[in-house]
Symmetry: C2
Subunit: 299 residues, 2 copies
């Protein structure tokens, strides 16, 4: 039995989880924008979870925004949490809480979670994209998290997808997958298609009702997802593509357009098509599932 926790910009969420994925209710805490406040709320949440866990806890697994060093178990220069830069959270947990500790980038944890209990459960070769404020990624090869030559793992959201983006990516490049698929890009696309309500769920509802602007938005966003997957499939040849994150709920609407673009691009290379593309049944759980899986793989 493990405690699995997700630490993001403004919230900390967690629960206990068993080796079969059974888990308690998800408990929440705010995350203060200071190092000491974050430590206190994190420790408090762990104490609460430990009390509710039905069996002894063997370790803590943390999915969190990066960049981070999973080996040294510390934050690097983070994108949105400067107060945590350089924080050796592994040392903190062992010293102040007295439990073994594992941590992963949240998108890589989500990939582990999706092949274990998510939309592509059972896949052994998979690429998982987490579509949200950013676009995160995780690659599973032969059932294990693949890190390439980076100790941080590949950040596939920063693969080049094409010019035409007016705003540069946070990484400093232009044309990254992230700038075509993240929340900002989606809302801008919806707005350009003539929609005033640009939330993915609203656009999907309008699309179901046959709204032409929503149909155009669905088609174009699906095409972009297909284009991104096509580039990644040339590299990885994964059997399964998973989608997680807030925007992954939109896949239900745009699925036919994703496949249309992929089939068109792979006209002469049908064997590059993945067998499955699937959105997470519960994107909020992907990273938590993943950290239990990380413990099972490492324990």
């Amino acid at each position: 039995m493990y405690l699995v926790i997700d630490l993001g910009g403004t919230n900390i969420r967690g629960t206990w989880m068993d080796h079969d994925g059974a888990h308690g209710t998800i408990q929440h805490a705010s995350r203060p924008r200071t190092l000491e406040g974050t430590k206190a709320h994190f420790k408090d949440l762990v104490d609460r979870l430990r009390e509710t866990a039905p069996r002894p806890v063997r370790g803590v697994g943390l999915a969190t925004a990066g960049p981070l060093d999973h080996r040294a178990q510390k934050y690097l220069q983070t994108s949105n949490m400067p107060e945590l830069n350089g924080f050796a959270i592994g040392d903190f947990v062992r010293r102040e809480i007295g439990l073994p500790f594992l941590m992963e980038n949240d998108a890589q944890a989500a990939a582990l979670g999706e092949v274990w209990k998510g939309g592509i459960a059972g896949a052994t070769n998979a690429v998982v994209l987490t579509l949200g404020t950013g676009v995160g990624s995780g690659v599973i090869l032969e059932g294990r998290l693949w890190r390439g030559g980076h100790f941080t793992g590949p950040e596939l959201g920063h693969v080049f997808l094409g010019p035409g983006r007016s705003r540069a990516c946070g990484c400093g490049q232009v044309g990254c997958i992230e700038t075509w698929l993240n929340k900002w890009a989606f809302e801008r696309l919806a707005s350009r298609c003539g929609l005033s309500q640009t939330q993915p769920r609203h656009v999907a509802q309008l699309w179901e009702q046959g709204n032409p602007a929503a149909t155009a938005c669905v088609r174009r966003y699906g095409h972009r997802i297909g284009l991104a997957i096509s580039t990644l499939q040339v590299v990885f040849g994964a059997e399964a593509i998973g989608l997680s994150g807030g925007l992954s709920t939109f896949f239900q609407a745009c699925e036919p357009y994703v496949w249309r673009t992929l089939r068109h691009r792979f006209t002469n290379r049908q064997w590059w098509l993945p067998a499955t593309i699937a959105a997470s049944p519960d994107p909020d759980m992907s990273g938590l599932w993943g950290m239990a899986k990380a413990w099972l793989d490492n324990g």
Copy 2:
């Protein structure tokens, strides 16, 4: 001691090679455009090489154009050698020549060769691009050839680099790295820059003399190489990038522009830069070195 052979569209080349890379003179044969003719010339070349080898030959290693199945040791639907489609060359060599056999795609063999005896000798994590009529690739991770989820290995020449190419790629897609970097793309670029002699060596000579059209061509081709490497580095984070193939000789001229584009794209992610980018000291040897290395790794 092994026999290492390169079989392409019009030629067969080979030599004997020792575990330290020492080798005999390269012997050549034409390749007839029939299956029976190819078999006869291949067997004849092997017999000649075997006679000149100073010590007993333990096996044959073949680097050859694909696509191919290196496990079943047969050609698949080849790009330019239809008479060899489906040819189980491994069975042929064992039965008709009586020697153990290994085969690899020529660009993957080149990658093995470049990290063993080539421009990036000693690298354990590397991406090697072979720039010629096509753009082939090989990825070395932890010293071994990496194949991803594809049994054919990734064909990185078909990763998307951007629109703007009027001619679709042979794979059926538009905007592949190959369509920006191959021989046709180079010659078209040189022509567009106002040059009448479009051979890479001529352009490099004119560039050395300060010719403005050649300078523009060098700068733009170097930028394209940098852009391709940047996309691949986000995925692989390799310590070394190797270049082989006929066009790799041009790297000497365009090296500063390759680095300029890479450094610009990785402004906020300097750790994605490779430590080394180097062209092969002898592109004709890359695949032959590689097949000796393949035997050393497998034997």
